[in-house]
Structures are given as structure tokens and as C-alpha cells.
Amino acid sequence: MDHVSTIEATKAVVTLDVPLPGIIWGWMITLNMWAKSIGTGVILVGAYLLYRHKKEDMPNLRWMMPLISFIALNVFLLFTLLDLHQPLRMVNIFFHPHWTSAITVGAWMASLFTGLVTLMLAIGLLDAFPEVGRHLGIAKTIRGKTALYEKVFPFVVFLAFPVTMYTAIIMAEASARELWAAPAEVIQMLLAAFMVGSASFILIAGKWSESVRKDLSWILMLSVLFSFLMYMGEYFFSFKASEVEATLAYVHSGGEYFVQFWSAMIMGYIIPFFIAFSSLKNENRTMMRFAAVLTFIGLYLAKSTWLEIPQMLSLS
């Protein structure tokens, strides 16, 4: 009973209650957001590269971009499904949609986005590898519609923005967790997409032109910088709501989330920033790949921390 005597006289103490729920949205939701950032990020960064450079500077971009996006989006969709307590009822989102919910709007947009990326992947792959499925009727049909790739691409780029950002609106609708504020989270989601989008391309850009690789370094450097600054602003100065203050005070006081948050900041933001910055003058491909891998790890840890800490707060 020693520590009871240290409680302030004005403080109230819970002496009998039920256990609290703890972490409800855990690593699967973190993985979901992380994978979605990759899936949309490669499209956004890819679109920028295609706008700025010649296709010959990035010979495999046409099929690698939808391939990476397709894999990441399927990881995202798989873990979205696995996290549901009733995964087979996912169809209810399509048959009984409730349009005020960002979950519904997001699910529809993400499904459409994945469908279009799949179409781009099929065209891109069959164009890049003419020997594949040469005798298959469906392959012939798709090859006959090569121009569709360029027609669909602008819609995919347009959709990539809301698809990458809608999770921020879900978090904003989760009004019990005040740490997740919409404007800040929307920007963070967009920056996360540019971070891992550029990091994905850095890993495969070995044979791309130097000017493209330089652009990727710029994108990585700027996106980690702005994202880091936003995290710092939120971490140190977002004390307007008492629940946010309590949440962050919990992290500031040390413990596993403190370690996780700063590990994320150092690994995913500070180190990649300096590597990308130095690479602008003297390119070091190995170091840039190292920075890209660190960005992936750091972003996952940062998202995990930010997702879980408000859930540690007692709501009642």
C-alpha cells in the first residue's frame, strides 16, 4: 500500500472496475496502412517520374510500378480482411454500404484502384515480356489493348490521392482518439506515400538514369523531412486537448512507446534524410538502398506508435 500514500489528496483513484480493452487496432492495421502507402506511393512517384523524364530513362518502370503497387495493395487488402472479426461479412460493405463511413468510401475506392492497377499490370507485363502467354486468347486480347494503359493511368493517379488519405479520415471519425486529427493525419499519409514510393523505386533504380535517381533522392529527402517536422510538432506542441496531452505525456514518460517512437524517427527519418542529402552531391547507391530499407522500417514503427498510443488511454 506504500504507493497509495503518494497519491495527491485531491486525486481520485479507481478502486473497482472491469479491465480495459487495451489495444484494439494493432499490428494488422499498422501493416494495412504501411502497405497501402507503398501501393499508392509508387503510383504517385511513378507519375511524377514519367512526367519529368523519358521512358527510356526508366526502362522497366511501366511494369514494375503496377507490380509493386499490386503486391502492396493485396497485402493491404489481405490484412484488412484478416483484421475483421467477421471477415466473410466484408461483402456487407458492398451490399449494405453506409456512406457516412470513411471505411465504406475507402473500401470502394481501394477496390476500384486495385482493379485498375491490376489492369495496368496485365498490360505492362504482357508488353514487357512478349513471349509470355503468346498463345493464350486472353493475353492476345490484352495485348491488343495496350493503349488502355495510358488511358487508365491518369485515373489511377487521381484515385491514388484519396486512397492513400482515406485512412486519415477513418482515424478522424474515430473521435474517441483525439491524437488522430484529420488535417495532420491526411498530410502524414500523403508524405508517407511519397516516402515509401520513392524508397521502393530506389531499390530497383540501379539501371535507371542518374537524373531519375537524383529526383528520387530529392523526393525521399523532402518527404522524410516534412513528415519528421510534423511528427515533432505533434509530439512536442499538440497540447490543446486534454486527452492528447495525457496520451503524449504517457509516451514522454518513457517506456516501450518512447523507445519505439524515437527509433522510428532516427531510423526512418533522420538517417534517410542525411543519406539522401549527401547523395545529392556524391551518389552512393548502396547507401541510398540502405536509406530506403530504413525508411520502410521507420515508417512502420512510426505508424505503429501513433496508432497504438491513444488506445492506451482509458475512455471511461
Binding site: A9, R89, S175, A176, S314
Partner: protein, 275 residues
């Protein structure tokens, strides 16, 4: 022609009157904390009436001790769904499993719920739980099934001191409306800053009893020693992944063994502390 217009106006008036009588009913709840003695009869009645599984609660009574010995007091706060007029859980539910009834109750259709837990993240009052048996979200519905049959909610019936007052807050002659009028200035809701417009009121409450940030939770001082957080919500092996992996790596078939819960290791304790 005039006769037609007369009938039209008459029928419109009848519709308005019917809507006023039926559609505008807004059911609300009020707990007089001055009367509550923490007997937990409401909690048990709710559990029994709604067959709420172990480790889940639609209604719970929290004990809070204030002050230092010998100047101490203990308060009891029953906590349940607030049936907000602007309910964040209803807004975030992707399949309308959470929906409003005409009488203001925020109801839940478990057969439609996909178990995304969005409502649990949205509810500022922590009033929604994941049912470990049905793997769907669930919560207090003010015993909507009883109200439909003309009965009072189970917790109201069970309360020995009539601390729970339930009725139509739109009806000026109802007991709850009288109570609210009589105790003006002392009627509070939880977290008004959330703008959810709760229809659950407290009389005799204060910041220390209604604001969760105003009281501490100390591990080891509760009915369930050293438990402040449940390790998992609902069925710990709910996912499809588990369903595939469990037959290979061994799953949660312990309950099939012939041993009581007492003999099983209690792995519900979790070292992560609250604050």
C-alpha cells in the same frame, strides 16, 4: 374542390399529430449518483437479460475513492452507452449495423456487423465491446427488446433505490423530464466537449467521477488484481489466419479439455499499464 382541399389539410394535420405523438419520442436515461450505492444489481440484471458473455460488460459500475484517510469518500458510477444524438459509432459503422431507432435508441444489428471495431475506436465513452462468442460488436441498447414489449430496461427494474430513471425526455410530463427540471444545474453528461449530444444524464456527479482523466488507475487494486487491460478483445483467435494456422501449430482448443476455468492458467493479465 374546396372539399378536397379541406380533406387534404385535415389529413396533413393528422399526420403531423401522429408524428408528434410517436416519432418525436426521445428516450433518455438519468442516474442519480447520490442514490446509487454500488450494489451492482443493474450490472448483473443487464448481464442476465442480454446474455452478456464473460469478460464483457454493457453496463458496469465503477468505484472511485476520493481524498485521503480519514477524509475519504467513495462514489459509484454506472457506465453504459450514452445513446448520443450525434453518435460517432453510427457514423463510422460501414454497414449500418449501428443505427438509430425512431425512439432515439442507438441500436445494433449483430447479424450485419463485420467486426471492424471502428465503433469501438469511435465511441468516446468506451461503451462498445467485441462479443467473444458472436465476434461482433455489441453494446447497451436500453433493452430495446423490452421497451418494444412495454417493459422497462432490466437495470431500471433491478435498482433497489430507483437511482436509474428512464423515459421520454421529449415528454414534459415524464418522470425523467421532471427529474431534470428539478435538478437543474446539477445535471451532467459525460464528455460534453465531444459534441455527441448524449441522452444519458447524471445527477450528483462531478469531474472526478465522470472524467476518466481526473482519476488514477493503480494496478493491483481492483477486483481483478494486476489486470488493467484485457490482453485481447473478443476471441483471441478470431482471424482467418488463425483458422488456417491453428490446426498446424495448435490452437485454442484448451476449452475442449475436461478442466474447469479455475485450473487453466490465467493469461488475461497484461503488464501494459494504463496511466
Amino acid at each position: 374542390m374546396l372539399l378536397y382541399i379541406y380533406y387534404l389539410v385535415l389529413s396533413l394535420n393528422i399526420i403531423i399529430v401522429i408524428k408528434k405523438l410517436g416519432g418525436n419520442m426521445k428516450l433518455g436515461f438519468l442516474v442519480d449518483l447520490n442514490l446509487c450505492m454500488g450494489c451492482k444489481a443493474c450490472e448483473i440484471a443487464c448481464k442476465v437479460e442480454n446474455e452478456v458473455p464473460l469478460s464483457s460488460w454493457r453496463l458496469r459500475v465503477k468505484y472511485i475513492d476520493i481524498g485521503t484517510f480519514p477524509d475519504t469518500s467513495r462514489s459509484f458510477t454506472p457506465l453504459r452507452c450514452n445513446h448520443c444524438e450525434s453518435a460517432p459509432c453510427e457514423r463510422i459503422c460501414p454497414v449500418s449495423a449501428l443505427h438509430y431507432l425512431d425512439n432515439g435508441i442507438v441500436n445494433i444489428d449483430s447479424s450485419r456487423c463485420i467486426g471492424c471495431a471502428g465503433c469501438m475506436m469511435a465511441c468516446p465513452y468506451g461503451a462498445i465491446y467485441m462479443d467473444p462468442e458472436s465476434n461482433t460488436a455489441d453494446k447497451c441498447t436500453y433493452c430495446a427488446h423490452r421497451i418494444e414489449g412495454g417493459l422497462m430496461p432490466a437495470c431500471v427494474v433491478a435498482c433497489p433505490v430507483e437511482a436509474n430513471i428512464f423515459g421520454d425526455i421529449e415528454d414534459e410530463t415524464s418522470q425523467i423530464s421532471h427529474y431534470i427540471m428539478e435538478h437543474q444545474g446539477d445535471v451532467q453528461v459525460r464528455k460534453p466537449e465531444k459534441h455527441t449530444d448524449p441522452k444519458h444524464f447524471y445527477v450528483g456527479g462531478g469531474n472526478q467521477t465522470l472524467n476518466p482523466l481526473a482519476h488514477e488507475r493503480i494496478e493491483g487494486y481492483g477486483l481483478f488484481n494486476n489486470i488493467t487491460h484485457l490482453k485481447e478483445i473478443g476471441d483471441t483467435h478470431h482471424s482467418m489466419l488463425d483458422r488456417f494456422l491453428n490446426p498446424i501449430f495448435g490452437g485454442h482448443n484448451d476449452h475442449l479439455k475436461n478442466e474447469s476455468f479455475v485450473d487453466m492458467p490465467n493469461d488475461a493479465s497484461h503488464e501494459e499499464g494504463g496511466h
